[in-house]
């Protein structure tokens, strides 16, 4: 080893430790950056030639240090786990919010909800039965019937507005998905180009992985590594991103048919073929619009069933009676085809005498029919049961989702903790590394000074005898 090559060794050490300090600085700078993976400089000792040469001599001492590369310290398996868990969490969180809004809309149990108004309605018939010829009692009942129907209608309207809201959110999220897909494709392109140029695009990889995990929170996706460090993203088995090419999704809002309810779904922009999306916030939003609110078992259908059962029960009983003119009623008490348009027939408001309070065989001032309707309050079946059943199911459903969300939240937190433990920046560790690099740098500089002094002694202080 020549004296000159010792200078090279010192220089390589200065470069390498500097690089180490740079990376430490980068790590500290990104200690709080989302999706950042801590980086590490890989050093390797620069050994001598692997094959002995004929004319050159090698002393067997190495030639300093090389920077072999910069690596990202992350666990791909934990990344995947985290993506999956975030997808489930996103869906449950969305369901939870939707159900909470439905619960709030019904406002049960209270003295103001539909159940209380239904009770008031029955009690109104009881007052008519007590005083069948009193027009004030009749007006009071009609008032209550009006309030009841208007509240059923507004409950249906609330649900409908919530659905429109959800469809709007689906549209916004699909736009975001398309943006994300394009950004991922662009990053893929950059990564492949950099890799081919022999560079290590570690920060591009971080950015790309962050976008993929954001996408995974919005919809269930699967990923597959592709050549050159790129990653392909699949939705329901079809590629959303393949290398540097991104596909698009669009929203299909199908109106209600003769025997089908409204649905909102996704399709591929390129060919209109339906896209299968499950999980994630998008999956939750679509389940909310298609199942929870407007499905065959949704709350709109349940509210409809309740409204129709009330309409039919009261209309049938009312038609059995006789009004103050001594005639059987010719007009239905309640009109409408569902919860959205159930209403009290306006004829009764104009002339309360038309209310058939008397039994068909009763006298003018008989209240037999009103008594029958008032007695529905203690019926075990009918609209009351449907309504109670709906509220209980809403409670059970919400409670279940709340519990599942709490569990999933904990699971996600643990997986994230495990992932962050691998990939996150520990400041104490960085401080220690910084010290190590700094000391090594100082030592390398001292080594260089030493070699310099040796050369100085040799060049300037030798061969001066007798001068």
């Amino acid at each position: 080893m020549s004296s000159m090559s010792a200078l090279t060794t010192a220089l390589s050490a200065l470069y390498a430790q500097r690089r180490g300090l740079d990376v430490t600085g980068h790590n500290i700078a990104n200690a709080n950056t989302d999706g950042y993976t801590r980086q590490r400089v890989e050093f390797s000792a620069n050994a001598g030639p692997t094959s002995p040469a004929v004319f050159s001599r090698w002393t067997g001492v190495g030639q300093g240090v090389d920077v072999a590369g910069i690596s990202r310290l992350r666990d791909a398996f934990l990344e995947l786990r985290s993506n999956t868990e975030h997808g489930v969490l996103g869906e449950l969180g969305t369901r939870q919010q939707i159900l909470a809004r439905i619960e709030l809309g019904f406002g049960e149990p209270s003295d103001l909800g539909l159940a209380a108004q239904l009770n008031d309605f029955y009690a109104g018939w009881g007052d008519i039965a007590n005083n069948p010829t009193d027009l004030a009692a009749r007006r009071s009942l009609l008032e209550r019937a009006g309030t009841l129907t208007s509240n059923i209608r507004s409950s249906a309207r609330n649900l409908d507005a919530l659905r429109s809201d959800l469809v709007g959110q689906v549209r916004a999220q699909v736009d975001e998905v398309n943006d994300l897909a394009r950004a991922i494709a662009e990053l893929n392109h950059g990564i492949v180009t950099n890799t081919n140029a022999g560079l290590a695009p570690v920060d591009l990889l971080d950015q790309r992985d962050l976008l993929v995990s954001r996408l995974a929170g919005m919809m269930g996706v699967t990923t597959k590594p592709a050549p050159g460090g790129a990653v392909d993203v699949f939705v329901g088995g079809t590629a959303l991103v393949r290398g540097s090419v991104a596909e698009g999704l669009r929203v299909v809002d199908t109106p209600a048919g003769d025997d089908s309810r409204r649905t909102v779904s996704l399709a591929w922009s390129k060919d209109g073929y339906p896209a299968t999306v499950s999980g994630g916030t998008l999956g939750g939003l679509m389940a909310g619009a298609n199942d929870i609110i407007d499905g065959p078992d949704g709350y709109l259908a349940k509210l409809d069933a309740f409204a129709l059962s009330l309409r039919d029960m009261i209309n049938a009983a009312h038609a059995e009676g006789k009004d103050l003119y001594g005639d059987g009623p010719t007009i239905d008490f309640f009109t409408g085809t569902g919860a959205a348009d159930i209403a009290l027939s306006s004829e009764y408001l104009t002339d309360p005498r038309l209310l058939a309070a008397a039994a068909a065989d009763g006298g003018h001032a008989d209240g037999g029919n009103a008594l029958v309707i008032a007695g529905f309050a203690s019926r075990a079946d009918g609209p009351d049961l449907l309504y109670r059943g709906m509220i209980v199911e809403l409670g059970v459903q919400t409670q279940t989702v709340n519990r599942r969300y709490a569990i999933q939240h904990e699971v996600t937190r643990q997986v994230d903790a495990a992932r962050d433990a691998q990939a996150g920046v520990n400041l104490d560790e960085e401080m220690t590394n910084m010290l190590a690099y700094q000391r090594a740098y100082e030592a390398a500089a001292r080594f260089m000074t030493t070699v310099d002094q040796l050369l100085d002694r040799l060049v300037n202080a030798t061969g001066l005898v007798g001068r």
Binding site: A100, A115, N119, G363, V396, T398, G424
Partner: protein, 298 residues
């Protein structure tokens, strides 16, 4: 669980955040319960409790209506009772007068005077038979006519039969609260007013017929007494039913409160505990997040 992991400042900060969030949300929930006084403010707080609450509310509302119905019925029966008691006094007076008239010592003038008084009593009784309660004839069934007895003493209400007007006082149970004219004052053609008209006529023209009139009057008096007994029995029943309904409302409200309202001491205790836990979490956070190796390097 996390001892096997590498720990970073950021993950500590994140976990701290989520723990504080959890502690605060529990505190908020208890605070909500305490300020609203309610354990169940939405169905998911307790689906089973919600069903009970809905049921209890429905039953309370219905039972309140039963109590109202019973009160209304009691007013009807009370009025009928007062009217019939007063009519009974007058019929007794008519009987005394008839006895005086039947006594052979009374001359035609005296008998005419008695006949006049009996006619006056008859008119007064007719007024009672046409009396009203809350705009409806007390003894007139459900007909349209507001005066069920014509001035000649005939029953003109429609339908003429004994119509039942009842009040629902419990699920599937109702009590009759009316009594129609013929049930009290006797059948058409032989009712109290016909009997009194006949007696007045006999006093003037055929004193020998007064004995038959006396018998008929006794029978009508029994009819009124029976009606009074019947009304008394029904009043008792209604009173029992009303008291039961009122008791039941109290019990149901208690049940509802058990299901729906918070247990105040327990909730305050909870709040204290959660507040302590939250404070502990905050103070632990303040200690753990502070130190760093940087503090110890010069």
């Amino acid at each position: 669980m996390s001892t096997a992991f590498r720990i970073t400042q950021r993950s500590v900060a994140q976990r701290t955040n989520s723990n504080l969030q959890y502690a605060l949300s529990r505190l908020a929930k208890t605070q909500e319960q305490l300020s609203s006084g309610r354990l169940i403010s939405r169905p998911s707080d307790s689906p089973v409790g919600t069903v009970s609450a809905l049921r209890f509310r429905a039953e309370i509302r219905q039972t309140e209506q039963f109590a109202r119905n019973a009160d209304d019925g009691l007013a009807w029966l009370g009025n009928a009772d007062r009217m019939l008691t007063s009519s009974l006094d007058q019929v007794r007076r008519a009987r005394e007068l008839t006895l005086q008239g039947a006594n052979g010592s009374a001359g035609p003038d005296a008998r005419n005077a008695i006949a006049l008084e009996i006619e006056a009593i008859r008119d007064s009784l007719l007024g009672i038979a046409n009396s009203q309660h809350a705009g409806r004839p007390l003894f007139g069934g459900t007909g349209e006519a507001t005066r069920p007895y014509a001035p000649d003493g005939s029953y003109i209400a429609d339908p003429p039969g004994p119509v039942v007007v009842a009040r629902a006082v419990a699920p599937g149970e109702s009590v009759r609260i009316n009594i129609t004219g013929p049930e009290v004052f006797g059948p058409e053609g032989a009712n109290l007013f016909d009997v009194l008209t006949q007696i007045a006529d006999d006093l003037r023209n055929d004193p020998a017929g007064l004995a038959g009139g006396m018998n008929a009057l006794d029978e009508r008096m029994r009819g009124i007494t029976d009606a009074l007994g019947d009304i008394g029995a029904r009043t008792n029943r209604l009173e029992v039913m009303r008291d039961r309904a009122v008791d039941q409302i109290g019990a149901l409200k208690h049940n509802l409160s058990e299901v729906e309202d918070i247990d105040l001491p327990a909730t305050i205790m909870d709040l204290q505990l959660q507040e302590t836990a939250y404070k502990a979490a905050l103070s632990a956070t303040a200690r753990v997040l502070q130190p760093s190796l940087v503090d110890f390097l010069r």
